[in-house]
Amino acid sequence: MPITENEIVKLKEQAKKIRHDIIDTTVWSGGAHIGGALSMVEIMTILYFKYMNIRPEDPQWGDRDRLVLSKGHGGVGYAPVLSARGYFDRDELKEFNHFMSNFGMHLDSLKVKGVDASTGSLGHGLSMSIGLALGARFQNKEWYTYCILGDGECNEGTVWEAAMSAAHFKVTNLVTFVDRNKLMIDGPTEEIMSLEPFAEKWHAFGFIVKEIDGHDFRELADAIDYAHSEKSGPVVIICYTKKGRGVDFMEDQVKWHYGSIDSELAVKAHESVERG
């Protein structure tokens, strides 16, 4: 069913709240991967607040949809979504990165409710997602697996081992996203290790490729609906995004891959998010 205007308004509100929470969590944590957390907010929001069939009160419910955040350093953008969706209290985010906390920068599936896979080392998530999807198919389960890759992550050879196998095994109960914010730690992706022609690479590996504005809920919804209906092969949605999206002084800035913000800078960040 196509997304409605009303849904989009609500999702935008939700995304704004999550951005505020990401900023607060970054302050509490003392330092986090805020740039890539902000670039994937719309992807995470639409999945957790529109598409995913989940029960936050029963996190291990067997028939739930699964999400694998293959770009595991996006943990500071993931935990606030889970808390907003009701998996745990927002106050728990205050412990992010702290001694003995359940929340490290890269979330642990055995410690954080709602996290379906422990990630952090890049190039692992798509393989695990394929395993989950094959497991669902083998057991005649209807649930979907969603996998979110970073674009820099696609330098890893294992992403392409996995891509090859997704096509070979015709894994169609999996939707793969790439957060194509075009920046990695040391600089722009095309300067450090060029990915282009990126869509063609995925196509060559047997994927059906959708390229969209990753901050546009309508485009995201259309792409996800398409992926759900497409049964001839795996679908990847390349989401063109901005690193640091929503906080003006962080947008498209290499240096905000990882950073800390004090309460003064946080005020400016919150103001920027409010302005939209």
Binding site: V68, S121, L126, S127, I130, G131, G135, F138, S165
Partner: protein, 339 residues
């Protein structure tokens, strides 16, 4: 197809005509018939590792990912998360080294129910050279939290270990050889249990603690030493390296006070090091030697030649025992009061 066997468990009659890996493949078929959650994965080594026997019987439950071991262990982790029971097989070298991070981070960190049966362990693929040897896997695997590490003595013990692993929670690494390693056990009926060492010969003068192919050699050495030297040699089959049966080690320290460990592995970090940890922690002294590959890359050759070259055959083990027996380490008569 699984070979026709003499009974529902494995005996020496089967083990003398089948490799450890063939027995593994056939046992997995048996388990697969009982448990439909079992799936098999390999990376273009279905034939070499014999998991292909399972694949022939259950083609829809068998996933060959091509030559991509890292992807394979990641997929296995995802399958375990979905509720399946994956058995994964490739060579030991490509398990413990090529795909180490996936084994560690995807499987062990998440404590997933993935059973890894790695073949061509140690120098059992001797003529293939260092790229296909794996004299590091025990050291690597025992350093991974949540991992259980098993080196069966022969094909019959492989059958026992695979059966138990299917019921045992969490990640399990079972290392087997490549070819027709001679068998020690004659039947499966000897009370195999993960984590419990088997004393296959009792003795009071010295203890040989061994695993894998060394078990048969140590047992033969004990016979030679009894006949020729009148020595009472205890032989412990330490099939589970982790969790180690510390009680069996300490009993050997206190009752025989001389220990030699024997393994097809680098002497660094393997069975010998694990046993040494137990001894050191106890504060008790004992004469101690480690036999294995002496921290080098193994020369090329057929395994039986390599085992002799590195002193893992029964005659070399007997010689090492005589050497250790001749050592005077008991000058301090108040040893028992020192702890």
């Amino acid at each position: 197809m699984a070979k026709e066997v003499t009974g529902t468990t494995w005996t020496v009659y089967d083990a003398n005509t089948m490799t450890q890996a063939e027995i593994y493949g056939s046992v997995l078929c048996e388990l697969g018939e009982k448990n439909e959650k079992i799936v098999g994965l390999t990376a273009d080594l279905g034939k070499s590792t014999k998991i292909g026997i399972f694949g022939e019987m259950f083609p829809h439950r068998f996933f060959n990912v091509g030559i991509a071991e890292q992807n394979m262990f990641g997929i296995a982790a995802g399958m375990a998360k979905s509720g399946l029971l994956p058995f994964v097989s490739t060579m030991a070298a490509f398990t413990a080294m090529r795909a180490l991070e996936q084994v560690r981070t995807d499987i062990c960190y998440q404590n997933l129910n993935v059973k890894i049966i790695a073949t061509h362990g140690g120098v059992s693929f001797g003529a293939a050279g260092t790229t296909h040897h794996c004299t590091e896997d025990i050291a690597i695997m025992r350093s991974l939290a949540n991992m259980t590490v098993i080196i069966p003595a022969d094909g019959i013990e492989t059958a026992c270990a695979v059966r138990e692993a299917a019921e045992y929670p969490g990640p399990v690494y079972i290392r087997v050889g490549r070819g027709f390693e001679p068998t020690y056990y004659e039947t499966e009926e000897y009370g195999y249990k993960i984590g419990e060492a088997v004393t296959i010969a009792d003795g009071t003068d010295i203890t040989l603690i061994c695993c894998g192919i060394a078990v048969l050699q140590a047992a033969e050495a004990a016979k030679i030493l009894k006949e020729q030297d009148g020595l009472s040699v205890r032989v412990i089959n330490m099939h589970t390296i982790k969790p180690m049966d510390e009680e069996a080690v300490m009993k050997a320290v206190l009752e025989t006070r001389r220990i030699i460990t024997i393994e097809d592995h680098n002497i660094m970090g393997g069975l010998g090091s694990a046993v040494a940890d137990v001894i050191a922690k106890s504060g008790k002294g004992c004469a101690f030697e480690k036999l294995g590959i002496p921290d080098c890359f193994c020369v090329v050759g057929y395994p039986e030649d390599l085992y002799c070259y590195y002193g893992l055959d029964c005659d070399s083990i007997a010689a090492k025992v005589r050497d250790v027996m001749g050592r005077d380490f008991e000058e301090d008569e108040s040893w028992e009061d020192e702890v």
